[in-house]
């Protein structure tokens, strides 16, 4: 820092006029002085990497000003000034390193989302409608996590047919049990109770059980699709995809 200021004082005297009799006072005063004109700063620095006081310094300053401006402009073949200053090189390196690090971080984040899941398929065929009687059927609960319920008159759509209730308690996610004697679903974790329609009526569950999409497959079997959920409290049980009319 001191080196920069020493040649500066004779070359560009600070605007605050200080007596030359106090050279020590001028050097610290030169620091808070207004900065050199910005256009000259980079070539100035380039000039100082040679020796500013030497005549070669001034020539180098002029040559690098010319070289710094247009990219790809023809350089004087005798020009030995650097293409980029040290500061520019290091800045470029830091920039590339930061970009590479950001990319690596993003890649690590993407890595955490698996592409392949060993989970039961979201859609499955549940057999023919004539294989089911009225009421709650538990045959798919363990494998696919749904109860298939046949009703003569649906709570939401008022027709007879099938709906699939997803066996996840809406309180905190445990699997309720179906108590056939009392005709209700009861969650063993905190005691949430649901009617066979799925409507919550006791315990801490805040909303009814969700329904999965049901449709008729091409071969006449019931197709259950868990990739779409229907929530009663959002009015989605009126959606025809949530109920299979028979």
């Amino acid at each position: 820092m001191a080196d920069e200021n020493k040649p500066e004082t004779p070359a560009a005297p600070p605007p605050a006029a200080k007596p030359a009799a106090v050279p020590q006072a001028t050097t610290p005063a030169a620091r808070p002085a207004p900065p050199k004109p910005p256009a000259a700063s980079i070539p100035d620095l380039a000039g100082k990497t040679t020796t500013a006081a030497s005549p070669g310094g001034a020539a180098a300053a002029k040559a690098s000003t010319a070289a710094a401006k247009p990219a790809g402009a023809v350089r004087d073949p005798d020009d030995t000034s650097p293409l980029l200053t040290r500061r520019a090189w290091i800045g470029l390196s830091w920039g590339v390193f930061s970009a590479a690090s950001a990319a690596a971080l993003a890649a690590t984040g993407r890595f955490m989302f698996p592409n392949v899941l060993n989970e039961p398929p979201q859609q499955f065929k549940a057999g023919f409608p004539n294989e089911y009687g009225m009421g709650v059927d538990e045959r798919w609960k363990e494998k696919f996590g749904i109860w298939l319920v046949r009703t003569p008159e649906d709570y939401a759509q008022h027709v007879s047919g099938f709906y699939a209730l997803i066996s996840v308690c809406t309180h905190l996610g445990c699997t309720p049990n179906f108590l056939s004697a009392e005709n209700k679903f009861k969650c063993p974790c905190h005691g949430s109770g649901f009617r066979t329609t799925g409507i919550n009526f006791e315990g801490p569950a805040p909303r009814p059980l969700e329904r999965a999409r049901v449709a008729l497959a091409d071969d006449g079997q019931i197709l259950v699709d868990k990739s779409r959920h229907f929530q009663y409290e959002l009015g989605q049980w009126a959606d025809p995809e949530s109920f299979l009319k028979t």
Partner: protein, 271 residues
């Protein structure tokens, strides 16, 4: 009078052996200083040992006063070392797969020699959570969070969170009903995260036209569990986090924490 000559007593065999041993090349290269019987050697013990050099050479008398410090921080560290060691031993017999996880845990008690590692690990985990809370309470009650120690307090809070996360991830590994449902309940909180959870506020806003960017198979909970429910993906992920990821993090923070205690004026110093 005849000159009295002082004759040194003849050294015993043990003393001669010791003198020889402590001058062998092997010994001198390992122990670079004499026994800590002089002040200089006492300083050198701390300075020349990588394990001890986080400690100061001297501490105040109040630093060992139990009524001031409760020693809960030290106990937490001791329990952490204990848990690391018992955990390492458990890793020799435990396989984090759906097929083997539960039976391996049972086997650690029934078949493995000295089959108390699982119990020691579990009790140690409970104890560490307790000592960590008591340590935090003591630091608060003695005002040891005030400047210049605020940064260290924050580091300590992060370590508290990591300790609780270590407990959370470790809880799943026995793969029994208690474990699966506890983690199901705990991880279901993640799906309600704003914007990053598929059931949280704002998630429906993040979509490209008709395609939702945040859904059950693509949200924060999915990344945590490696699946849409607590299954084999969750077991493996929690195992890796519990045994490698979180311990590395908390060890680094421990180094920072101990260093800062020393640099901020030592343990149990006056404010």
């Amino acid at each position: 009078m005849a000159d009295t000559k002082t004759v040194a007593p003849k050294e015993g065999a043990l003393e001669r052996f010791w003198n020889w041993l402590t001058e062998t090349q092997v010994w001198v290269s390992v122990f670079r200083h004499g026994r800590p019987t002089t002040d200089r050697n006492r300083v050198l013990v701390m300075l020349s040992n990588v394990f001890l050099h986080l400690h100061p050479v001297r501490i105040r008398k109040s630093g060992v006063k139990l009524r001031y410090t409760w020693c809960m921080g030290g106990l937490s560290f001791f329990l952490f070392l204990n848990l690391t060691f018992t955990g390492l031993l458990l890793m020799f017999y435990y396989r984090p797969t759906l097929e083997y996880a539960y039976t391996d845990i049972v086997g650690l008690r029934e078949h493995v020699p000295l089959g108390i590692m699982r119990e020691m690990h579990r009790w140690g985990a409970h104890a560490m959570v307790i000592t960590v809370w008591l340590h935090m309470f003591r630091v608060f009650m003695t005002g040891s969070y005030k400047p210049p120690r605020e940064f260290n307090w924050s580091v300590g809070v992060i370590m508290l969170v990591l300790t609780l996360l270590l407990s959370f991830t470790g809880y799943l590994l026995p793969w029994d009903q208690l474990a699966i449902w506890a983690i199901t309940v705990g991880s279901n909180m993640a799906r309600a995260t704003p914007f990053l959870g598929h059931e949280g506020p704002g998630a429906s806003l993040l979509r490209l036209g008709d395609v939702p960017l945040i859904h059950a198979a693509d949200d924060a909970r999915f990344a945590l569990l490696g699946g849409t429910f607590v299954g084999e993906g969750a077991l493996l992920r929690f195992y890796v986090l519990h045994c490698v990821g979180l311990p590395l993090g908390i060890a680094v923070l421990m180094a920072v924490h101990f260093w800062r205690v020393r640099k901020d004026g030592g343990i149990s110093g006056p404010l």
